[in-house]
């Protein structure tokens, strides 16, 4: 009777996973065209794409609503090189050849202006409008307060910055791409956060408002997707028809923008091509050849509006309705999720009902459960004190322990960018794990580490035995205390000390080898593929773990004296006594320590991270390290969760195996 139900349940679960992973979204297009007057040099969009700002060579700045009607016009004295708006569109910054940066309000009236001695090349505004960054031809970089227009700081760069951007909400960053091929990120106070060098001048940059992703265009026709936290390259590519950029065209050769969710890229080139790319892998989603050179591109935060202006002065606006489609698709997948959950609950209830009706145990359970509930509630009310006492603990545990565990397992099946999206992808993450070369190296290393950790337990066992054999109580106590001294060192200090010991120049190991004349053996222990992992395993030599020592010793002490005396009387040698009595009787402790060593070694992070970081190459990679990197460097939170889930099941399985394998019939359970 049970089998059909199980089959139904399994089929239901599998089909729902497939259904969700194939949820697709469709985009509808509508396009408009406006003609502001003059070649379009700068474009900007409010976050939702409802406000469009266009700046032209003929010194016109026009703001349009999403139907293409002109809301206001602003005319500086000369060519507009760049425009920027705040996320809500209430503020607009204009960089003009008349050597001014203007800040306009929602009606297009200037609130303040800043004058420089040279022409301003690019301007950017933070999403909340509080900061405006501008760069001019004189290699100046100026940060202005968005509200008052006062100069917060001014820097003289080594070379002109052709492109700037501001991103980040709590920790603002200012991104500057300059003619010397450097991309520099400054903090709000003007300190350099990170810097990356490219092969050619940086001519355009765009970052997502939260700073996770950015797109960089360089004069050699390459576009690079970077991680905003440290500037690391995620991928790099050239558009199919790579534009031949000359220094003269640097401002219009290759124009880029990225949607706020980091999903889409809009690329416009001097040779009249428009590309829409999938930001995650650089695949071209759409491509169009126009009749005119594209001079400026903008894409809204949610990717719903794409805007590009060209040399002839036309601005084309594509309204993807993608936001609506996205929303609908999300609703669809959410509905599917809900249906699956409800379906599972219904099936579970069905199984439960059948169980309580049809089986004896079930019937008994139901009887116990359905005692008069009023009585039960009364009992609960009377013991309300107890519930209050445990309430704070339960709340803490629920929030900080149970919820993350459940969240981890759930998100293992999703593509997860926290705060931005969670998309069900079924078993994709697990497929990626299986295909990843790093993961298998990691497993190999983890197994080696686990095995080594088990072997390393022999030393504290030996020491515990030796101490146990000491007759003098004072000496025994002193020895125990002395061996606990290493506990005093913080674990990080221990690891860093061993990094020092392994140092090729002044490390104790190499110095000793040299002093003994064995100079040939001296090497870079952590830098050599063959010795890195053994070196990490050897950390802590001679591995007398105070924790294990105390546990073993406690177990030995608990052996009743009669057994030991009887053994002595029977003429047992110490060796025999060790194997026949001690080991079986402390099996409980051995089991505990083995399981803890196993769990610890699979999750090993500190010692690898602080010594080699996984290198050289991937010689010392572990799964926990990969998990950390995927989340922090690549923002693959879903993949990270999947790894966590895999490790969880591995640990669970390993622990059960350990419990089985180390069972002993002679186990002594006191009490």
């Amino acid at each position: 009777m049970r089998y059909p139900l199980r089959i139904i349940l399994v089929v239901l679960v599998i089909s729902s996973i497939f259904a969700m992973s194939s949820a697709s979204l469709f985009a509808q297009e509508g396009s408009l065209e406006v003609v502001p007057g003059g070649a379009v040099y700068g474009t900007a969009l409010s976050a939702d794409g409802a406000l469009w700002v266009v700046g032209t060579r003929d010194a016109i700045v026009n703001a349009y609503d999403d139907a293409g009607n002109v809301l206001w016009t602003f005319e500086p004295d000369s060519t507009v090189w760049s425009v920027a708006t705040s996320a809500d569109g209430s503020r607009t910054a204009v960089a003009s050849e008349d050597r001014h940066v203007y800040l306009l309000d929602a009606q297009g009236l200037p609130l303040w202006s800043y004058r420089s001695s040279r022409i301003f090349v690019d301007v950017a505004m933070s999403a909340d409008g509080s900061r405006v960054i501008a760069s001019d031809e004189n290699r100046d970089l100026i940060l202005l307060d968005g509200v008052t227009g006062t100069v917060l700081w001014q820097k003289r760069l080594l070379d002109t910055a052709d492109t700037v951007d501001i991103y980040g909400d709590e920790s603002m960053r200012i991104l500057v791409g300059s003619r010397d091929a450097y991309l520099t990120a400054y903090t709000e106070s003007g300190d350099i956060d990170w810097q990356v060098r490219y092969a050619a001048d940086v001519i355009d940059v765009a970052m997502t408002p939260d700073g996770t992703r950015g797109i960089i265009a360089t004069l050699d026709g390459l576009i690079t997707l970077i991680n905003g936290a440290d500037g690391a390259t995620i991928w790099q590519d050239t558009p199919p028809q790579a534009p031949n950029c000359t220094a003269r065209d640097r401002n219009f050769c290759l124009r880029v923008d990225i949607s706020g969710d980091g999903q889409q890229l809009l690329i416009g080139t001097l040779d009249s091509n428009i590309y829409i790319l999938d930001a995650l892998n650089g695949d071209i989603v759409q491509q169009q050849v126009l009749e005119r050179s594209v001079t400026s591109v903008s894409i809204a935060v949610d990717g719903s509006v794409l805007l590009y202006g060209d040399r002839n002065g036309n601005v084309r606006i594509l309204q993807m309705e993608a936001s609506a489609a996205n929303f609908a698709a999300q609703q669809d997948s959410q509905r599917l999720e809900l249906m699956t959950i409800m379906g599972t609950v219904v099936v579970a209830l069905g199984v439960f009902t059948l169980w309580t009706r049809r089986t004896t145990r079930g019937r008994q359970f139901w009887q116990v459960l359905s005692r008069p509930s009023k009585q039960r509630l009364q009992v609960m009310w009377r013991s309300r004190v107890a519930y209050f006492l445990i309430l704070p603990t339960l709340i803490l545990l629920l929030v900080f322990n149970y919820y993350p565990a459940a969240s981890g397992i759930y998100h293992a099946f999703t593509k997860w960018i926290p705060g931005i999206e969670t998309e069900w992808v079924g078993l994709d993450n697990f497929r990626d794990i299986a295909n990843s070369p790093y993961f298998f190296v990691g497993i190999r290393n983890a197994v080696i580490l686990a095995f080594a950790a088990f072997i390393k337990l022999a030393v504290p066992l030996l020491v515990a035995e030796l101490i146990f054999h000491i007759r003098n109580g004072i000496v025994s106590y002193t020895m125990r205390t002395l061996f606990i001294i290493p506990l005093v060192l913080p674990s990080v200090v221990t690891i860093l000390l061993w990094v020092n010991i392994y140092d090729p120049n002044i490390g104790l190991l190499n110095q000793t080898l040299n002093a003994l004349g064995l100079t040939d053996l001296a090497r870079s222990w952590l830098g050599d593929r063959n010795t890195a992992l053994p070196a990490i395993i050897t950390i802590g030599f001679p591995w007398v773990s105070p924790f294990a020592l105390l546990i073993f010793y406690g177990g030995l002490v608990a052996i009743p004296d009669e057994l030991l005396d009887a053994a002595k009387v029977d003429g047992a040698t110490p060796w025999m006594r060790f194997w026949r009595i001690d080991i079986p009787l402390i099996m409980g402790q051995i089991r505990l320590l083995t399981i803890l060593a196993f769990i610890g070694s699979l999750q090993e992070f500190q010692s690898i991270f602080l010594t080699t970081g996984g290198g050289p190459g991937n010689a010392t990679y572990t799964p926990a390290l990969e998990l950390y990197y995927q989340a922090t460097r690549f923002n693959n939170f879903g993949l990270s969760s999947a790894m966590g889930a895999v490790l969880f099941f591995a640990i669970l399985g390993g622990t059960l195996l350990n419990l089985r394998a180390l069972r002993s019939r002679a186990e002594y359970i006191p009490g």
Binding site: T393, G408, P486, T494, Q511, G554, V557
Partner: protein, 294 residues
């Protein structure tokens, strides 16, 4: 049969002949010798750290094997100035968390041990089940949770999860202990008119002082040593804890200045040293008690 046994015992007892005694003495000396050998090897890194902390780069690179001469106290000045902020932070966060864990664990353990209420056992099993969940599974989701709660890069990002983690073991320890207290103590208290709260605070808590101290020390050591969680959640150097701070300050000194770095390591060790000087007994007792129960 009995005679045989006694004969054997006699034989065993009479092995107090001089030769056997000398043999036993030799065995003992051998044991102690081996132990001292292992101990010295274990202490080598610590000695290394201390010696290097008083040298400057010239001495380290030039005269590696000699004792520091002159002794460079300056290293400790920089070590202290760099580490004091981190240590202050860590001790503050850990102290708050320890107090919270001790209070909450004793309350919860007391409730589980001395009260009966519906669903008591399932709830307790639920708490124990958390021991099965490894850190890797909850690491990233906890990070996201902390971010969404808006406490990322604040002390609370450390204090709350630390407290929650310590609760599991704390409740276990406290419940086991409170269950061993005889009912008569509480009965006599009730007869004397004590309220529930007084029963807890005047009777149960004072008696559990040793176990609470053990719990406090174990939790303090655990939070002091935590590395990956503060690494993940704290990005401001002035909020950072010791374990991560040790890896971050190197930029101040440059990569090759080992003397001040070693001094900083020593300074970072001092709080734990002080803790163990006073609390070693409790910590050892805690672990050995756990050993017997294993």
């Amino acid at each position: 049969m009995a005679t045989r046994l006694y004969e054997n015992l006699d034989a065993a007892a009479s092995s107090s002949s001089t030769r056997a005694k000398a043999r036993r003495q030799f065995d003992q000396t051998l044991i102690i010798g081996v132990l001292i050998g292992l101990l010295l090897v274990t202490l080598v890194p610590i000695v290394l750290m201390l010696v290097m902390s008083f040298k400057d780069n010239g001495q380290i690179y030039g005269r590696f094997w000699s004792l520091p001469n002159p002794v460079r106290w300056l290293n400790y000045e920089s070590g202290i100035s760099v580490m004091s902020g981190y240590i202050r932070n860590t001790l503050a966060y850990s102290a708050i968390s320890v107090v919270a864990v001790v209070i909450l664990s004793s309350l919860t353990g007391y409730a589980f041990a001395r009260h009966q209420f519906p669903f008591k056992e399932p709830l307790y099993l639920g708490v124990l089940a958390l021991l099965m969940i490894p850190g890797v599974l909850t690491l990233i989701p906890s990070f996201v949770l902390v971010k969404e709660l808006g406490i990322l890069n604040t002390p609370w990002a450390l204090i709350l999860p630390w407290t929650s983690g310590g609760q599991v073991i704390g409740t276990l320890l406290c419940r086991t202990f409170f269950a061993t207290l005889p009912q008569e103590i509480f009965d006599s208290g009730k007869i004397d008119g004590a309220s529930e709260f007084q029963l807890y605070s005047r009777i149960a808590v004072p008696l559990s002082f040793p176990i609470l101290t053990t719990l406090a020390i174990m939790h303090l050591v655990a939070t002091y040593n935590d590395f990956i969680w503060p690494l993940l959640t704290i990005s401001s150097p002035n909020l950072q804890v010791v374990s991560v701070g040790l890896t971050q300050f190197t930029s101040q000194f440059g990569i090759t200045d080992w003397g001040p770095r070693m001094a900083a390591y020593v300074v970072a060790t001092i709080p734990l040293l002080i803790l163990f000087m006073f609390g070693m007994r409790y910590y050892v007792r805690g672990i050995t008690a756990g050993a017997v129960k294993a």
